[in-house]
Symmetry: C2
Subunit: 284 residues, 2 copies
DNA sequence: ACCTGAACACCGTTCAAGT
DNA sequence: ACCTGAACACCGTTCAAGT
């Protein structure tokens, strides 16, 4: 709905891997995962399949490149936080996905009561981790195909090109946190897994909501999902049913943030026993 | 390599959804994700495609059912921990995947030094969470296609049939942990995301190792992957390079366990301030 | 109700041929 | 070096027809 620029591509501008990947991303955004076809691609680029195969080995590589580009843009946007230059973000990723200005700040602490953020220094490693996480979170909402492709690529070649990007971004902040080197891998892995999993799940919620009833608010969808959970067998699913209401009423970004803070707490509590070690003490 | 039973299927035994799903799992285990084809399936079951379509709506539903069955078997095996009955596990899942006896116990605490497990009561909620996690971990190693399909289904319909299964298993233990109800959803989500992500990544490592050089030990693969990380641009990937060695030498199960304990620590520290609140205090 | 199997539409990929 | 486009092999799915 958002992407409208550059329709009816003119046959000028020589073909290039970059242009192909760009077209692939637009096609994925517009027509969904099933919409990316070599035929659709050749039409949009006004060429034959052979031309595309000269720049790209196969469809898998094309999908990887598209995933790579979108993730890189999301991470670059976050990196340009306090600095002014937008880096190499531009072009790829529609709408405000790569907007370097404000990282769409985490939902304000509307939290019920108990968790009173203990006045962390702004721009702390924790803050930066949250910003990176929300950058990926937003990218997945803008590109509904991203979670799936990310998961596919992670399953296919876990040490491929995307993982190091995300790993590096988060890992630097884990290091800045003061975590001893022996625990870098574990701590970073935990954060990355949570972020990708939770952000992906949330994006899937939005996507499903959009698909089921294009115009409906996702709140209505969550309501329906919550009802579905409520109709599970009470003997087999007591917990899931009990949590159904909670799921319906939750705010995505708040929930996502709470999960990140949970992992962060685990990291600091387990690996930084000197610092202050424990949970943020309830303000006195 | 393991599955050998019931080859050259006889055309007796009426077709059923269950038999189709079973054949699909075997085909996936044997021939990989690309090997599951309606043509291969009809051959194996000695029917036509129409017969399959009478029992199953389409390929997507078939893949979902296969995923469902394997996950259910893994969770059932864990549930039969202290009890004797194996439940409805049987049949599906080759080799020792669904063996109800010992949950392949988490790697013994070979931990370097500092983390001295504070003598948790055996069969504690923590222990059960670890057992469930390792059950899924093992299932993913036995069925290399499982992480991918799990991720696909999660992206496709996050509140589908598999999620509640896993969510319920973990969630019950989160409740047993004493987490206040308001935090059930966050805590359970964090655990599930970490477990699926980390187990999947590990399974992908093993799978890639097997694919690249069928006979090589996965240690050699990790060595190669570690070298690949070491060849990344030192300016762009200082952290990832620094962690490469650590990745090479790690023990999967130990690393996986450490991550679970990290999230568990976060949960208890953040949500159980009364209990003892903090990280396992170094034994006096 | 359950199964058969030929047929259809579509897809990724190749390759001899052009410039 | 880069592009064309017809052709190939294969796949998921359908459906009229059988029992």
């Amino acid at each position: 709905m958002a992407t409208r620029t550059r329709r009816t591509q003119r046959r000028t501008e020589a073909l290039s891997r970059e242009r192909i990947v760009e077209a692939a991303v637009e096609l994925l955004d517009t027509a969904g995962e099933g919409g990316l076809t070599f035929r659709a691609l050749t039409e949009r680029l006004a060429t034959g399949p052979g031309a595309i195969y000269w720049h790209v080995a196969n469809k898998e590589e094309l999908l990887d490149a598209a995933t790579d580009a979108v993730v890189a843009a999301a991470l670059a946007a976050e990196r340009a936080e306090s600095a002014g230059s937008a880096g190499s973000a531009g072009s790829i990723g529609p709408a405000g996905a790569a907007a370097p200005a404000e990282p769409t700040g985490p939902a304000e602490p509307t939290v019920s009561a108990e968790r009173t953020e203990p006045a962390e220094p702004p721009n702390s490693p924790q803050d930066k981790i949250r910003a990176i996480a929300f950058g990926l979170f937003d990218a997945m909402e803008d590109h509904p195909w991203l979670p799936t492709q990310l998961a596919l690529q992670l399953s296919r070649s876990p040490w491929g090109s995307v993982t190091p990007q995300i790993f590096e971004s988060i890992g630097r902040q884990v290091r800045a946190l003061g975590v001893p080197e022996g625990h870098w891998f574990t701590a970073t892995s935990a954060l990355v897994h949570y972020i990708l999993g939770a952000a992906g799940q949330n994006a899937a919620n939005s996507a499903t909501a959009r698909t089921l009833v294009p115009d409906v608010d996702r709140a209505e969808f969550l309501d329906a999902a919550s009802k579905a959970w409520n109709e599970l067998d009470p003997d087999d699913y007591p917990f899931t049913r009990a949590v159904a209401a909670q799921m319906r009423d939750h705010d995505d970004r708040e929930q996502f943030l709470a999960g990140i803070d949970l992992v962060l707490t685990g990291i600091t509590a387990l690996h930084l026993p000197g610092d202050q070690g424990c949970a943020p003490p309830p303000a006195p």
